[in-house]
């Protein structure tokens, strides 16, 4: 019984996988299936957040200068 279910599941999986291999225009399907796209996303995120952090650092520096000038 369990064997039958397993076989059925495997066949179903292979059909599902086959269905994903589309005949249309090429897309980065394997790229996404591998899961490695998350590496790219994390790299982009790191770059973006370092830029944002730099902007925040700049703003704090400007704020300090503004306060300094206000005191004069």
């Amino acid at each position: 019984m369990i064997r039958n279910i397993l076989v059925f599941l495997l066949i179903f999986c292979s059909i599902a996988l086959n269905a994903q291999e589309n005949q249309g225009p090429n897309m980065a399907d394997t790229f996404r299936n591998d899961g490695k796209i998350y590496v790219v996303i994390s790299v982009i995120s790191i770059i973006f957040f370092s830029i944002v952090l730099f902007l925040i650092y700049l703003e704090r520096k400007i704020k300090r200068l503004e306060d300094k000038l206000k005191d004069h």
Binding site: A28, F48, F49, V52, L58, I62, L65, E66
Partner: protein, 221 residues
Amino acid sequence: MIMKHWYKIISVLIIFYTLVWGLLNPVPRLDILNETIRNVYYHVPIWFAMLFMMSVSLIYSIKALSTNKLTDDIKGYNAAVVGFFFSIPGLLTGSVWAKFTWTTWWTFQDPKLNGVAISILIYLAYFILRFSIIDELKRARISAVYNVFAFVMMNVFIMILPRLTDSLHPGNGGNPAFAKYDLDSNMRMVFYPAVIGWLLFSFWLFQIKNRISFLNNKLDD
């Protein structure tokens, strides 16, 4: 604290969302474009941010003409600088995208590319004009008048002329506009937020630039 920085927080959150979901969400499967259709989320909002900053610059220039305030003049100039800054990544990303879909880095066949090149020269002339006038009030008035002219010319070259002739860009000269992408609600979910996020981000840069200018002015006094 949040009252003051709300738009920066929103812009960072939205852009982060578009960076992640823009790569993961399902997109229409089209020949030639393939996965590069995702560039719509990044290349186009950059240009929208540029147009937005040039509009801000126009508003402050007109304000400077009516109020004669030097602060408005400086804000108008700063907005133009930020807009100009956005046009550079806009050009570079467009060039890379063109290389892999239109097979060339730059084509003079496309009126939009030529229009953008001319517009950039027009704004370069605006900066040169400003640097060449030493008297502050005179500089404010002359450059504000020129800025109104520059904005109108940019719109003629980027928005109007490409729509009258054939263009490779969507939405111009009989090409299907965003309507084609807009049909895909998945792309709309990323594209519209991306535009809002980058507009707010450009406004953040604009504010930073303003504060530096005013610090400079205060130090000069």
